[in-house]
Assembly symmetry: C2
Homo-oligomer: 341 residues x 2
DNA sequence: CGTTGTTCCGTAAACGTTTACGAGAACACA
DNA sequence: TGTGTTCTCGTAAACGTTTACGGAACAACG
């Protein structure tokens, strides 16, 4: 069915070596011959068998993105990743690399899928997201010497690998600054487990900003829940029942904010009127919610592209003249002021 | 670095043929030898090279899910797919198959990515979603004889391939029935392009139900927009400005509903009070929106598992004793009554 | 005419598997 | 002893590529 390089060779009555060289654009092949090979390739609808190629070259020319759920979170919060993946795939394609997304089973602590990708050499490198503060996946990859990059930072692995992250600390801090400037002093924070590194960073920025403003950090105003709608819904009432009620809430996530706003609605509290609401990571939901939610917007698509560059700069096969470099970047989150605060 | 079957053979001083047979559980190998091979494999941390295996067997043992955006829709509506993919991956894994998700570039009419997967033989079969009424992807795959299954139906390709779909027609019909029973007669429908087959089916059910109730179908109450928040936001006012205003709106999608509800809010119209709102496909957003949106819920995770079964039943290499079968199923959407109607 | 260099191409090995084939050994049976 | 069967294993080819190596043809030059 599918034509191979041998078919081309037979059809043109030349050797497979020449065919391969012609297709790969090597110098030592006559311009005329190359032309004929390319024509025949089109005519016979030839395209290279990836398995054969990978086997010979010891490289698959594909990068795996691990879609690993965070324990307790069924829905992953994936809408977040789509623009990122779009950019990642586009940039990788420019280097002739394929992006494959690998689903992890929910609650897969053992990183079974990651192991499988690495061990069967299905990809030349992997990209991790939702890094945890201590991340066993990073330890695993670093220990094995398998190339990877992360969307997000972690304490694991030090700075031995390239990474890209958003400045959640500054966003947390900016959010507080803005609320304080608008007269708030009782500001709550709804966040996921501190194992999720962005949750940790956000809280850090939040704390430091409060202290900078001379406002005491009240543990009763900080609550932890699953990083989804249910989490926000469960946990928000807890914060609203503290002795001295908050006049503002910062949610770490659009899903948590949605759940939280439902809880508020059930208590008859209206975001934007009775309480200020800020969300750290903006999504279409924030924009189209009523009231529209003030949120911090990431440049996801460009970040996807950039992560591809960063990863490739670290891979010897792709590194430029200066050789492999470990690049780590932290990108800003842009405040989008809307109607909820 | 990575150990091969040759390393095992050398280490045990036996031939690679025997090692391979032992690992693959074939009968013609001594029980004792097999034991030693397995031990050595664990000891040397052996795992088979997927490229070598694929090359020899002519099969990659992986299935590709195409994440193809619909033109004009930036966000894909992917949260919908996550539980589906979870089920799909889980069931495929039970047959030793890997699931890979392939991102298509936005607005990729040429199906470049699909072609690439097929031509480089990166997967043994593909799964398509968001089938269109006339779907060039299906034509392409059918013509090439490449195995595939779809989440959704299409006019393309007839019934020559396995598929799984939701009963959008019945959901549209049920939605109308329910609203009529509650006294509504002016019922609007906000839907995406009729190229998207589920949009077509939904509208069909909607129309037939109206006719069944002796209600004239008013074109002014039917509007088409992108299948995302912006689409719902843009198009909903159009329907509300018709001479004889609707008292109920059915949205084809949670994102369209969100955008539509924002438009309603801006007009001072409250869902659940001033107008009834129904959503065809339920998501966490519907549940946590205020008011909670009445919606039709799909069993996504089981559907993912089922689609794996259906696909495998069609692949000769996996088909049971009866041989390959084309299974096509339509699954129900369960009404979840909430507060918006 | 001999030497050297260049251009182009064929040969064959290698990547890591699986598997058809056949061989040797052990054993049973007549 | 001869024949057949069963169990176990080694040999080697094959999957589709890429690429190191060498050789043929030819040109250029002294």
């Amino acid at each position: 069915m599918a034509s191979s390089i041998h078919d081309l060779a037979r059809h043109l009555n030349i050797s497979i070596g020449t065919v391969s060289r012609a297709l790969n654009g090597r110098a030592d092949v006559n311009a005329d011959t190359r032309q004929r090979v390319l024509e025949a390739a089109r005519e016979l609808n030839y395209s290279p068998n990836q398995s054969g190629r990978s086997l010979r070259q010891g490289a698959t020319r594909s990068i795996a993105f691990m879609l690993q759920p965070h324990p307790g979170d069924q829905e992953y919060g994936e809408p977040f990743f789509i623009p990122f993946l779009t950019g990642l795939q586009a940039q990788l394609a420019e280097s002739g690399l394929d992006l494959i997304v690998v689903m992890g089973a929910p609650g897969d602590y053992q990183q079974e899928r990651l192991r499988r990708v690495v061990e069967t050499r299905r990809a030349d490198a992997v990209v991790l997201a939702w890094t945890r503060r201590e991340d066993e996946r990073i330890d695993y990859l670093a220990e094995r010497g398998f190339p990877f990059a992360t969307l997000g930072r972690s304490r694991s692995g030090g700075t031995s690998y390239p990474s890209l992250d958003l400045d959640f600390e500054k966003a947390g801090s900016d959010a507080v600054d803005r609320l304080v400037a608008r007269g708030h002093r009782r500001i709550a924070a709804i966040r996921p487990s501190l194992n999720l590194n962005f949750g940790y960073l956000f809280l850090d920025g939040y704390r430091k900003a409060l202290q900078r403003h001379g406002i005491e950090v009240d543990p009763g105003l900080i609550a932890e829940g699953f990083i989804n709608e249910a989490g926000g819904y469960q946990v928000t009432p807890r914060v609203m029942l503290s002795k001295d009620k908050p006049t503002a809430i910062i949610f770490n996530n659009d899903a948590m904010a949605l759940g939280g706003c439902k809880a508020l609605a059930e208590m008859g509290i209206r975001p934007g009127h009775d309480i200020a609401v800020t969300v750290i990571v903006d999504t279409p939901l924030c924009r189209y919610f009523s009231p529209a939610l003030t949120a911090f917007r990431p440049a996801l698509e460009p970040m996807g592209r950039r992560l591809a560059e960063i990863l490739l700069a670290w891979l010897p096969a792709f590194a430029g003249p200066e050789g492999p470099r470990i690049i780590r970047e932290v990108w800003p989150l842009e405040l989008i002021a809307r109607d909820s605060d």
